[in-house]
């Protein structure tokens, strides 16, 4: 469970997030959407205290954590950044095992519980087949799956995921969203940044729509992704499937 109250974050002179209040309950899959430069990633990094907040508060499980250093609360919040670079060609399983670092005491080996969490995460992210392969040899989409497994393996109460579907083919886009959904079903608060609005509409319980650092709309996906909102924030007209309401195509206004 994570919450912000009137959060303002600046990057240099640029105010990236303005006066933003949001709340993720446990078991919720919440989408963070908005055009490029809306402040989505900055908000996530601020939640992790990787960048300082100028104003406002952050609460984790009803406890204020605004000023705590980034390495505090490890194991309670898991983070999967976008386009992650992997420095060494570890094997898939060793990489996923990094997710267990917060649970290991110094020098200790993986416990049976760690092993079980790693196996479950790899299965959920459909990455089991890469267990023994050096991650450098994997394709972009395969890496994305193993990295998702790494984030799931933490077993945190709150999971922050930045564009997990960007490199994935249509099939694995769905399996990645299913994995996040089932993590949410197990009680995790999941916050996911998405550019695919249809995936957001189909999988998320609620959406927060950001534009220029401000919260424009929040609520049920159908309400947030209204024609008017898409027009004002994304500057596109959309054509929808009459039955499902899903977006069939989008084009420039006019």
């Amino acid at each position: 469970m994570i919450e912000t109250r009137n959060l303002t974050v600046s990057l240099g002179d640029h105010c990236a997030v303005r006066d933003l209040s949001m709340k993720l309950g446990s078991g919720e899959l919440v989408g963070l959407i908005g055009p490029n430069g809306a402040g989505k990633t900055t908000l996530m990094r601020a939640l992790l205290r990787l960048i300082p907040c100028e104003n406002g508060e952050i609460f984790l499980n009803d406890k204020e954590i605004t000023g705590d250093p980034a390495h505090f609360h490890a194991g309670k919040i898991a983070y999967l950044p976008q386009g992650q670079d992997i420095a060494w060609p570890l094997t898939g399983r060793r990489l996923v095992a990094l997710g267990r670092v917060p649970h290991q005491s110094s020098w200790s080996k993986l416990s049976a519980e760690d092993d079980a969490a790693i196996d479950a995460a790899m299965e959920l992210a459909q990455a089991t087949e890469f267990a023994d392969r050096p991650v450098r040899q994997l394709s972009g989409g395969e890496r994305a799956r193993i990295l998702l497994a790494r984030a799931l393996a933490v077993g945190a109460d709150t999971l922050l995921v930045d564009e997990p579907t960007a490199a994935l083919d249509p099939y694995y886009q769905l399996t990645a969203m299913e994995a996040l959904k089932s993590a949410a079903k197990q009680g995790t608060s999941v916050c996911v940044i998405l550019h695919d609005l249809n995936l957001a509409m189909r999988y998320c319980d609620r959406l927060y729509l950001l534009s220029q650092g401000r919260l424009v709309a929040d609520g049920k996906p159908q309400d947030v992704l209204s024609d008017a909102n898409l027009k004002s924030v994304y500057h596109v007209d959309v054509a929808r499937d009459a039955q499902s309401g899903l977006i069939v195509s989008h084009h420039l206004i006019g």
């Binding site: 505090f72 670079d85 420095a87 060494w88 570890l90 060793r94 990094l98 670092v101």
Partner: protein, 337 residues
Amino acid sequence: MALVTYFRTHPYSLNLALALCLGMVMFVGLFLGYAPVGIVDATQGLLGIGEEQYVFIIQDIRVPRIVLGALVGGCLGTAGAALQGLLRNPLADPGVIGISSSAGLGAVIAIYFGLSSVYAFSVPALAILFAIGSMFILVWLAGRDASILTLILAGVAISSLAVSLTSLAMNLAPNPYSLSDIVMWLLGSLSNRSYADLALSGPFMAAGLLLLFGSARNLPALTLGEDTAASLGVNLGRLRLQVIFGSALSVGASVAICGTVSFIGLIAPHLVRPLTQHDPGRLLLPSGLLGALILVVADIAVRVAPGAIELKLGVVTALLGAPFFLWLIIYTRRSMR
């Protein structure tokens, strides 16, 4: 190949094998040198029960030299591995990023101003101080999320500055004897080292190694970058200081003992990395052991090489290391594509 697979899956076997090799090479080193000493005399000398001259040669000349060689190699190998893990960069090395030349500058200043003859302690102290200072400049120059290129360039800049200041000291040397003292010391050698040197630098090396080995648990998390490492509970500020201070202490003390011996920190981790499944934490101990092994072997080679003038240890490791570094750059560039 079967052995390689076994080493990969059994971390202790690799360390054990390297330690055994190191022990063997150190023992062989006892009876190789200018004065030939047979294996029986060497063993008796080691135990202090043989003829007096052999006891003296083995215990007072060869043992400190070999032990110091192993320690220096161990420090260089471990520091190289830890720096590579911290900087996420296989080209990092105490020499390449300027620790060694800065430590060398500190030691030369101690020699140049005659501090070394008044306080023997001043050589390791200044070497370590300069090594730490250079690392702060490096971190400041390269910034937090430095690219490989920025880091190497910053290291090159620091290295050149240290080398040019060292040259200035040589330029201004008051007489040819002190000049030759500095030059001979800079070339790197383990000859005529005693227990006093061990007592002087040993504690710094031990402290540095402790700091470095303490970082082993947190280095793997850095594989995924600093943001993810922080989210996994790694205190990045502390880890950075730990590795930088650890390297500066151990390498500074090593340079104080035997001058600048380069490239061990680059070669050793690179050779054992595939055997540790590229795990930056598991890499530290085998890198240290292999570094020790390489340096002891190189020192034996220096001692048994024919010729009237003894080759300097630093010259030998640089001759081996520089082509290796070149190959490593080409190889890394190819694998990064």
